[in-house]
């Protein structure tokens, strides 16, 4: 029973928890949160089961409500999104565990609403990854965005302004996406992705596809914060609510990138007449993103802002893989998507923990903080090294696949940019390491009484990220094998 309905259960369970949470928090403060955490945990378990099934039996096609496929909504789970779903639910789970320490206002309604929004955000993300329907993707995109606006707005008065601006820009993106969907729907008369791909592959609709491409690139570009569409991102990531920041920064930017891949590689396909222009445009944006993001990050004193700009650069890596287009390079993109979620998530778990303990996010206050928080700083170091791309961490291997894909296609310039970008990363991440381990102690005062480094529920996410970064690095070949099950067919 469960096995047959896994794709939908993974999404329904957190959704139900979101709806129940507010009610249950009214009864007991901890009940609501417990329900959300358990629901996301259930999703995590089911998503792992689903991944196993997909690897064993191939893609799952799930028609919701048993409506016939091109007419009803369909969930399609292949090896790509099965892996992505595992990633979302893992980070979702650890953030749900972690976030509760940052709730300052413990009135039941607010507390409950907070957990509700977290659960909704996770639902939206999971839905975006699962769906095989163009319009359904829009709905989940909006669920994600709306909950993200709220979570960013919870981060204080600056957060509200950032959230408002993000909302305006994000709505433009969503509208552009709808325009593109309308154009494609008008041409093909279907909303199902597979069906649409079949109709479009005849080559009669190249002009419409070109037009919709022009809307889709900014739409996804805004949502994933690719240069030059990244304007909203640094302030939003900086001022987002501290407890859920890892989820927002680590995962939220990846799903639009994934959707972009779906559109350009699965729906448009590589036989699309203008595919070279598409890839060139993506390549230019990615290269600018990688250089600009790193350059901006170098000048920041606030660690949150530094990491936010570094996200702009890292998103560039992901779309660079799309611009190269060989299966290996695409695998590099997806590996980076997964790896970066844990790296950036991990870095923000650490900054959150430091802020929780010492109330600061200014890099200049971080002197020799490693003596007080050895574990946190251990993760900070590993994640930073992974960002630079030092083996054997995850970041190195995604770079390897991207570079070897680029070498196969003779895009030497991309290899050069990868090298330059990692060196720029090295500049600011070693600055961070230098601050944490070497600089003079700033004499920070612990806000909480003496005791262990952090509460257990904050340590769990840190340890999980630590293990994940090294694990993804060491077992990347296995992950890439799984990814290539699907990518082997869609790449160049």
């Amino acid at each position: 029973m469960i096995e047959n309905n896994l794709p939908v259960l993974i999404i329904i369970v957190p959704l139900c928890a979101a709806l129940l949470c507010l009610l249950l928090t009214g009864i007991n403060r901890h009940l609501g949160r417990a329900v959300v955490v358990l629901a996301v945990l259930a999703s995590l378990v089911m998503s792992v089961m689903q991944l196993g099934l997909v690897i064993k039996n191939g893609p799952i096609h799930y028609a919701i409500g048993n409506y016939k496929v091109p007419f009803g909504i369909e969930f399609v789970i292949d090896s790509l999104n099965a892996v992505i779903i595992v990633m979302i639910s893992t980070i979702g789970f650890i953030s749900a565990v972690y976030a509760d320490h940052f709730v300052t206002d413990r009135r039941p309604l607010l507390h409950g609403a907070y957990n509700t929004i977290i659960a909704l955000l996770i639902t939206g993300l999971l839905g975006m990854a699962s769906t095989g329907d163009v319009f359904n993707l829009y709905v989940f995109l909006e669920i994600t965005s709306l909950s993200a606006y709220c979570l960013i707005a919870l981060g204080g008065s600056r957060g509200i302004v950032s959230a408002y601006r993000y909302m305006l820009v994000g709505t433009i993106a969503a509208t552009f996406y709808l325009v593109a969907a309308a154009l494609l729907y008008g041409a093909t008369g279907t909303l199902n992705m597979d069906d649409m791909a079949k109709i479009l592959s005849s080559g009669d609709y190249d002009t419409v596809m070109l037009l919709s491409m022009c809307f889709l690139i900014p739409a996804f570009g805004i949502k994933m914060a690719l240069f030059p569409f990244h304007g909203w991102q640094p302030s939003a990531y900086t001022h987002a609510e501290a407890g859920t920041r890892p989820l927002i920064t680590g995962v939220m930017g990846k799903l639009p990138a994934y959707a972009m891949f779906r559109f350009f590689y699965c729906i448009f396909g590589t036989d699309f007449r203008y595919v070279r222009y598409l890839m060139l445009a993506l390549g230019v944006f990615s290269v600018c993103s990688m250089l600009y993001g790193s350059l901006m990050a170098m000048w920041q004193n606030d660690i949150r802002k530094m990491l936010a700009y570094s996200s702009v650069a890292q998103i560039g890596y992901i779309s660079l893989g799309f611009a190269i287009g060989t299966p290996i390079a695409l695998a590099g993109s997806f590996l980076h998507m997964i790896g970066h979620a844990f790296m950036k998530g991990g870095l923000f778990f650490c900054t959150g923990a430091i802020r929780y303990k010492f109330g600061t996010t200014d890099l200049n206050d971080f002197g020799r903080i490693y003596k007080k928080m050895p574990l946190t700083c251990g993760l900070l170091t590993v994640a930073a090294l992974s960002m630079i791309g030092i083996p054997p961490t995850a970041g190195f291997f995604s770079k390897w696949y991207l570079a070897s894909g680029a070498a196969d296609q003779h895009y030497w310039i991309y290899i050069a940019v990868l090298v330059i970008s990692s060196l720029l990363n090295a500049v600011y991440f070693f600055k961070l390491i230098e601050k944490v381990f070497i600089n003079e102690d700033a004499g920070l005062k612990d806000k909480w009484s003496r005791g262990p480094e952090l509460p257990l529920t904050m340590l769990i996410p840190i340890v999980v990220c630590f293990v994940a970064i090294l694990g993804i690095g060491l077992f990347n070949a296995k992950i890439v094998d799984v990814l290539l099950l699907t990518l082997g067919e869609v790449g160049l």
């Binding site: 290996i328 695998a331 090294l385 630079i388 791309g389 030092i390 083996p391 054997p392 190195f396 291997f397 770079k399 390897w400 696949y401 570079a403 070897s404 680029a406 070498a407 196969d408 290899i415 050069a416 990868l418 090298v419 990692s422 060196l423 090295a426 070693f430 230098e434 381990f437 070497i438 060491l474 077992f475 990347n476 070949a477 296995k478 890439v480 094998d481 290539l484």
Partner: protein
């Protein structure tokens, strides 16, 4: 030597264990270091280094017999496995590194305690990590595995360079990172290109690339992209300036940088790239070997002159290292079996001699707090054993017969003669004289009869924990000169490596 009692551990797992033993030691020291007694902490280092020596030495018979020892653990990326294997060249470096780890560890304990250093836990952990990655380098059987350890070595040396955490340390740490990370990333790009054109990264004696895969200008570009990483670490001019800057670190670290792991890793990287990736033929035809050889010649001469002008003992030794490492690079670039064997053996010879010199410099500093050569007048009278060791090592560096330095240099010179390169021969001989010119004054000054400095009267010999290792190293460097194959058959291994590379050509 008989290692039958170790037979329960399959041969192919021993390289892995040799890498892991110091990695685990590093982890244990880092986690437990602050919570256990320091003697216990140092015991971890010593036990690990003894285990490592046993594991590495037990592989020598297999390497001599030419047995295939290879372990493919998992795939490091798609298409390339994480593979460790034993070959003569790697074996030579592994023996040196593991032997000297023990000596340096004992010495470090004496130095760090004698000097009352802070952050000893981090120091010993990073040290163990460095050695772990150096061993990994020796046994790595393909470029990618090699690169993984190479980068770990880069990163784990950084905490040692910035050990004092003052402005000077931070500045030289940044310099070190700038040099090594940039060259490392370029190395990475080159590996990607090599893998893309050849479809393999497996080290093969005699190289696996040919002119068809990399047409003319590309071969030279990729050659320098790859060798660049090696020569930055090996301190070939003009890419050497991080090395003297890193002198701010404690002396055992300098010993490690100069003698044991880091610069040798650079030289070893050059060896692997030139002879195991490109191979003699392509290296010659693309012009890379020649260009590199001239860089080495330039370095040998210029660094000797700079060394002469330095009055700080450690700085003088640093420039001496810069020059000596270029011997190895030159030996590799002459591209004959003898010169290759000589270059490999110079890794051994220079390691023992240079570590002696650095240990002496450190011992003098800890005992008398003197750094400058001009202040060391008459110090030999008070510390005869220490300075005696210094004298032995200096003569060895100059390459006198019956010292380790002679064996390696003679072979490189043979090779140069064989290749018909009289200029290289002249350079090598000239540099031997220059080495005498900058090292002997130290000895002479220190043994001056009239004790000018009355304050030396209060000092005696250095601490036994420092004295013993440095004497051992000095004695070993003499023994290895008289009997190059002593115990470990290191010279045979070097010759084997040289022959295996040039076999296909003959």
């Amino acid at each position: 030597m008989d290692f039958n009692w170790l037979s329960w551990l399959p041969l192919e797992y021993r390289p892995l264990c040799a890498v892991l033993v110091s990695m685990i030691a590093a982890g244990l020291i880092y986690v437990l270091g602050e919570h256990i007694h320091r003697n216990l902490r140092e015991a971890i280092t010593l036990i690990a280094s003894v285990l490592k020596i046993v594991l590495v030495y037990s592989l020598i018979p297999a390497a001599l017999a030419g047995t295939e020892v290879r372990l493919e653990l998992f795939r490091i990326v798609k298409g390339v496995s994480f593979a460790l294997s034993v070959d003569p060249a790697g074996m030579v470096f592994a023996c040196v590194a593991s032997t000297l780890w023990l000596l340096t560890s004992i010495y470090s304990i004496g130095y760090m305690r004698g000097h009352g250093e802070k952050n000893q836990t981090g120091y010993f952990a990073a040290f163990a990590m460095c050695l772990s990655s150096a061993t990994g380098l020796c046994f790595a059987s393909n470029l990618l595995t090699f690169f993984v350890f190479y980068e770990i070595l880069t990163v784990s040396t950084y905490p040692l360079v910035v050990h004092y955490r003052d402005d000077e340390g931070i500045a030289s740490g940044r310099k070190y990172l700038a040099y090594t990370l940039i060259s490392g990333q370029i190395f990475f790009a080159a590996i990607v290109i090599v893998y893309s054109v050849s479809g393999t990264t497996e080290f093969t004696p005699g190289g696996f690339l040919d002119a068809k895969m990399l047409p003319a200008p590309w071969a030279l570009i990729v050659f320098f992209m790859m060798v660049g990483a090696g020569i930055v670490k090996a301190g070939v001019m003009p890419l050497h300036s991080w090395l003297p800057a890193a002198m701010v670190a404690p002396t055992p670290v300098s010993a490690l940088l100069h003698a044991v792991a880091v610069v040798k890793a650079g030289a070893f990287c050059t060896l692997r790239v030139v002879l195991y990736v490109f191979g003699p033929e392509l290296a010659k035809s693309c012009g890379g070997a020649k260009a590199l050889a001239w860089m080495a010649v330039f370095t040998i001469i210029v660094s000797s002159f700079i060394a002469m002008r330095k009055t700080n003992l450690k700085a003088r030794l640093a420039f001496s290292t810069v020059g000596q490492l270029s011997y190895i690079v030159l030996g590799i670039c002459i591209l004959t079996p003898f010169s290759t064997a000589g270059a490999l053996y110079h890794i051994v010879a220079h390691a023992f001699m240079k570590i002696t010199l650095f240990m002496v410099a450190g011992a003098v500093f800890v005992t008398t707090h003197k750094k400058d050569i001009t202040e060391m007048v008459g110090i030999g009278r008070r510390m005869p054993f220490t300075m005696g060791a210094f004298a032995l090592a200096s003569i060895g560096i100059a390459g006198f017969p019956f010292f380790a330095g002679f064996v390696s240099k003679a072979n490189i010179i043979f090779g140069a003669v064989e290749a018909g390169q009289p200029l290289y021969v002249a350079t090598l001989i000239a540099s031997a004289l220059l080495a005498l010119a900058y090292l002997m004054p130290v000895v002479l000054v220190s043994f001056k009869k009239e004790v000018e400095n009355p304050e030396f009267m209060e000092f005696g010999e250095a601490d036994l924990r420092m004295l013993l290792p440095l004497l051992m190293a000095a004695i070993l460097s003499v023994l290895l000169g008289i009997w190059p194959n002593m115990g470990l058959h290191l010279f045979d291994l070097s010759l084997m490596a040289g022959n295996s590379i040039f076999q296909p050509l003959m």
